[in-house]
Every structure is written in C-alpha cells, then in structure tokens.
C-alpha cells in the first residue's frame, strides 16, 4: 500500500509541483492514508537532519568560490590561456571553448556557472570569427557539462552525502571521465572542422599584455613552486629522512624548476609567457583543492572553505578586481541558490526514509532482476533510464530521488559504489544539456539569444559523443576507478 507513494510522487512531479514539495507531499499523503500519522513526523525530522550536515557545507562554499573567481575576472584569463595553447588548431575557438571548460571545471562545481561565464565571453567571440551562433552556443553548452564531472562538483557532493560515499573518492573518480568528455568533444570538433569547413584559425595571443607587479611575482613563485613540488614528489626520499634533507631536496627541485623555465624562456614569445603567467593564479585553485584533499591537509568541506579564502585573497589582494561592495550580491546569490539545494537534499533524505519503510528497493530489485541477471545488460538499461530521466529532470534532484533506489541494487550486483556513482553522475550531468528540460541549454539560450530548439538541434553531434563516453565509463571501470584506487581513496 505504502509503495503507492512512488506513482503519487511521479504524478505530482509531472503536473509541475516543485520537487521539494513533491518529495514530501506524496509520502505524507500515503502515510496518512495508511494510518501512519506518527511517521509523518519522521518525514519532517529527516528534512531537518538531512540538511544538518558537515559535508553539505561544501556546496555553498564552492558556489561562493566559483562566483567570486568569475566576478573577479578569472574567466578571461583562462580563455586567453586556452587560446594561446589551442587557438591555432583547426576549429580553434571551438577547441578553446572546450579547453576553457575543462580548466574552469577545476574552479567551479556547476555547469550552469560554466555556461554563463564562458558563454557570455566566447559565443560573441566565435560569432565574430565566423562560427554560426547556434554552433557556438551548442559547443558551449555541451562542454559545460564537464563542470560538475571534474572536481569540485556540487552533484558529487550531493551523491556522496545521500548515498554515504566519500566525497574525496568521488571527486578523484571524476577527473578522468571529465577530461575524457573534453577530449571526445575536441575530436568531434576536429572531425566537423573538415566536414563543415569551420573557420580557419590563427593563434590568438594578446600582445602587450601587462601584469601588475604583485601578480607577476606571485605567478613567478607559484609556477616554480608547482613544478618543484611535482619533481620533489617523484624524488626517492626515504620516509625517515630528516627535515633538513627534505627541505634541501625541495630547494634543489626549485632550482631545477627555475632552470627549466629559463630554458623555456628562449623557446616561447614574451606575450605567450605573459598569458600563461596570468593564468597561473586562477589555476592554483584546483591544485589547492585536489592537492589539499590528496595530501590529507583538509576534508572536501574544508577545501571548499579554503577555496573561498583563496578567491578572496586573489580577488582583493592580487588581481584587485573585486570590490567590497560586490560581496553582498555574491553572498546573497550563493546563499539563495544553496538554500534551495539544501532544502531539496533534506526533503530527499525524508523521502528516502519512506523508501525504506515501504521496502521499495527490495521490490524494485526483484523487478529489475527479472529483466535480466546480467549486470552488463542491466547497466545498459539503467543508462537508458537515467538518460530519459535526465531529459526531464535536473541532475541534483534526479540523483536525490534515484540514487537511494538504484544504488543498492547495483552495488549488490557487484558494481563498485564509486563506479556506479560516476556512471549516474555523468549520465545525469549530460542530461543538463539535453532537451526538453536542460538547465544548461536554457542558460546557453539566454546568453546567446538563440532559440533553445535551435541549440538543441545543433548540440546533437556533441551529445552523441557524450553518450559514447558514458558507455565507455560504464563498461571500462578503470576510467573512473584508477585514480581513487592509486591514491587509496577507494578499494
């Protein structure tokens, strides 16, 4: 009897009740009809307790950091950097768009932020270079879904929390799949460049770019420190080596790094160097977040707070591009947006309680296992289901609703929980760019002033690539599992 809350929920959802209310109304109604009034209290209590969580705090923090970086003029630096690296390729600006998305993904946890930040800059630029507006909007939207696949990622934080997985493991598992989506899109652009004769490209490097003194020195130190730490981490240092030896080796590594850059100096132009330098400060963010988590210096939530601190430091002291008067607006936006997400997560935890009370997973597992007992076939079917759901529902709510129902079934079938999390997250994230309901499509339409339908048609080849990547990720677990396993964050 209680199990009828699932169709009731579906009904409420389809007639347009906000997901938050649907998640509570349907179970509440059925509990009441079932004479279980006491358990309605359980619903309310789980909304509250669902939100009262330390890991969830990373959501407002990453949103805040991303928004501050974006307002602080970091987007333009990443685009210029991508342009300097890839602008000379066939379909240059389209490739730049994709690379910018990958880089931006390391700073922001959201595809929507990616679309609006990069779209408002790159779509007009691509149009000026002779790309059609719909193509420019389509590639922006398609590449923006990389945002929540590469860490940090709001979606993965939600998944980890709702399903009780480690945020750090999911973050690490998302890196390669995110890059794979980017590479897939680049290959597609390359193919289309021949076929559709995309505008010829030329390396675009801004000339006469000037750097402030502070920024110049900060980048000078940072880039050498990055390379030195990289070299140092590969040095065979005995665990019991004294601090003096370790510091000495680090100093050596710094000298080597400096030497490398002196050598490079002769090879590349002054302007190219300036563009790279300008990108160094923003690109520290992913290094800081991932490095910090990997080195165990902080938890993902703490990493998110540190990212905010770094954004403040960069925006106010290095680039001096943020004003105190910008802050109320930035904080308000981050607060309101995360409040909606948090309420939704709370409602989902309440919904999950009724899922347990009704023994829905057991019944659904029976149904699913009736279809086939072969995990490979079931994974195919589940991807189909997720893709369809993703067409109509945003990734966050979809994960919140389906995760607790589907996750346990597939984990029982022997799929690693982290691997399943990535399948689900990537699939539903791609859903952000699919018609008819695709948040990223809507934003791309708003930014480009192109119609949603037109973009939806132009995006099809890229969606095809992304679907291909989804299946690659599904059937080659190593793509997602290698990094978390090597770093000991997954077994």
């Amino acid at each position: 009897m209680l199990i009828w809350f699932l169709p009731a929920f579906l009904f409420f959802l389809l007639i347009g009740l906000p997901v938050f209310f649907g998640l509570l109304a349907a179970p509440g109604l059925l509990l009441w009809l079932n004479g279980q009034e006491k358990d309605i209290t359980l619903l309310y209590r789980n909304v509250y307790n669902g939100m009262d969580s330390f890991p969830l705090m990373a959501i407002p923090f990453f949103m805040l950091a991303g928004e501050m970086m974006n307002r602080g003029g970091i987007t333009i630096r990443l685009v210029e950097f991508s342009q300097a690296l890839m602008g000379h390729l066939r379909g240059g600006l389209a490739q730049v768009n994709i690379l910018s998305s990958i880089l931006f993904a390391g700073l922001s946890g959201s595809a929507v932020a990616d679309t609006s930040a990069l779209g408002s800059m790159l779509i007009p630029a691509m149009e000026k270079e002779g790309y059609s507006r719909k193509f420019a909007a389509a590639i922006t939207a398609a590449s923006s879904v990389i945002g929540p696949i590469i860490p940090p990622s709001g979606i993965m934080i939600i998944y980890a929390y709702v399903m009780g997985e480690s945020v750090a493991a999911l973050f690490l598992a998302g890196i390669v799949p995110g890059i794979l989506v980017g590479v897939g899109l680049m290959v597609m652009v390359r193919l289309m460049a021949d076929r559709y004769d995309l505008p010829p490209a030329h390396r675009v490097v801004l000339t006469g770019t000037q750097l402030g003194k502070t920024e110049w020195w900060v980048s000078f130190v940072l880039v050498r420190l990055n390379v030195a730490l990289l070299i140092w981490s590969f040095m065979p240092i005995a665990a019991e080596a004294g601090a003096a030896i370790k510091w000495g080796l680090l100093a050596g590594a710094l000298l080597i790094a400096h030497g490398i850059f002196l050598g490079l100096r002769r090879v590349v132009s002054h302007d190219f160097r300036m563009v790279c330098k300008r990108a160094m400060v923003p690109l520290q963010t992913p290094i800081l977040i991932l490095g910090g988590i990997l080195a165990g210096v902080f938890t993902p939530t703490e990493a998110a707070a540190v990212a905010v601190a770094y954004a403040i430091f960069v925006g106010f002291f290095i680039l001096r591009s943020l004003k105190l008067s910008d802050m109320p607006q930035i904080l308000t936006n981050a607060g309101i947006t995360s409040a909606v997400v948090l309420l939704l997560v709370g409602a989902a935890m309440a919904f999950k309680t009724v899922v347990s009370l009704s023994h829905a997973p057991e019944q659904l597992a029976g149904f699913i296992l009736n279809l086939s007992e072969n995990p490979l076939i079931l994974l195919f079917l589940i991807n189909l289901l997720l893709f369809i759901v993703g067409m109509f529902l945003d990734a966050g709510p979809a994960i919140i609703i389906l995760g607790p129902i589907l996750g346990p079934i597939f984990v029982d079938l022997g799929i690693d929980p982290i691997h399943f999390a990535i399948i689900m997250s990537v699939n539903l994230t791609v859903g952000l760019a699919t018609p008819p309901m695709g948040l990223v499509l809507f934003v791309a339409a708003a930014v480009s002033r192109e119609r949603v339908e037109t973009i939806a048609k132009a995006i099809l080849p890229f969606l095809a690539v992304e679907i291909l990547v989804i299946f690659l990720i599904t059937y080659v677990p190593a793509i997602s599992m290698t990094i978390p396993r090597l770093t000991g964050f997954a077994q």
Partner: protein, 196 residues
C-alpha cells in the same frame, strides 16, 4: 477582486521586508560559516589544536541561512519543478493548475509548521548541542550550553516564511485568474547562479 488586491498588497509588502531581512542575516550566516571552517583549518593544521565547535557552529549558520533564504527563492520562482505540462495547457487551465499546486504546497507547509512547532518545543528541543556555548555573564566566566532547539527553530522559521510566501502566491494566482494580472507588482526575477 479589488478586495483581493488590497489584501495582497500588505502581505506582499511584509514578505518583501521580512525576506530582505532574512537575506541580510543569511549573508552574515554564510560569511560566518566560511570563517568558522577557516578557523578550524587554521587551528588544526597551523596550531595543531583541533577545536570542537567550528563544525557545529558552521552547521548552525547553514541551517539558518537555508531557513531564511530559501523563501526568497520560492517567491522568485526558484524552486525546481517540471513545468512543461502546465505550459502546454490553455492559459486558463494552466492558471487553475498552478493554483492547485500551490494549495498542495500549502498543505505540506501547514502540516510542517504543526510538526515543527512540536519538534522545537518538545523532547527533541531539550537536547543540547554538543559544543556550542553562550556567555551568560559579562565577564565570560559563566557559559550556557546552547540547546538544540535554537538550531531546530531554523527550519520552523523557514516553513513559516515559506507559508507566508505561499499565501501571497495563491492570492496573486487568484488575481491573475480573475484577469487582474496587470495590476500585480512584479516580483524581481531569480538571478541564475547554478548549483549544477
């Protein structure tokens, strides 16, 4: 309809003022969250002295941020919903449907207020927080352990504000249904800042 509009005006006004205050507190809360966690990181790694309270204090702020800021999102139409069906309907049916949906939401909220009140004032509110204290004397030598009910009140306040917004939206819907849509003051649009 004139009566409806005149009832709506003060409700809308009050909502606007209260939600603005809510947003202001929310901004302070989110800033305090960042500060608390940064203090935690600083003490643990730099001073090698882990503090017990930042975790709970930051969650305290996050809950209040949610309770005070989510109603603004609701008022500006920022709650996620699939609205294709409503938009496919003829306009009058669509308006009736959205009124019906608002009534369903109202039912949820009214039940939530009742339960929430019972939760805050009842047994659950008697629990103490694990690590939060307030000084009860000016010399800071007497400390009072903050009860959990202070945290739990955030959601209760949240659903009360949501209810108030919901009533405003229902009245707006009724006015629109009666053809007075042009007499409504527009609610400022939600700014797109994605969480996904």
């Amino acid at each position: 309809m004139g009566g409806l509009v005149s009832v709506l005006a003060p409700i809308g006004f009050v909502n606007e003022i209260i939600l603005r205050i809510g947003r202001a507190i929310g901004v302070v809360a989110i800033a305090a969250m960042v500060a608390a966690i940064l203090i935690q990181v600083f003490f643990r790694y730099v001073l090698n002295n882990a503090l017990p309270w930042p975790d709970e204090a930051a969650r305290f702020c996050m809950l209040w941020m949610t309770g005070l800021m989510a109603p603004t999102a609701f008022r500006r139409g920022g709650f996620v919903a699939i609205d294709m069906f409503g938009r496919a309907l003829p306009s009058i049916l669509g308006q009736i449907l959205s009124l019906f949906l608002l009534l369903v939401s109202l039912m949820v909220l009214v039940v939530a207020i009742q339960i929430g009140w019972g939760e805050v004032t009842g047994f659950g509110g008697k629990f103490t927080t694990a690590s939060l204290y307030l000084p009860t004397s000016l010399s800071f030598d007497e400390w009072h352990r903050i009860p959990r009910s202070w945290m739990m009140a955030s959601l209760l306040v949240g659903v009360i504000l949501l209810t108030s917004v919901n009533i405003e939206l229902i009245l707006r819907g009724l006015v629109t249904l009666m053809g007075g849509g042009d007499r409504l003051r527009p609610i400022d649009d939600v700014e797109l800042l994605g969480s996904e």
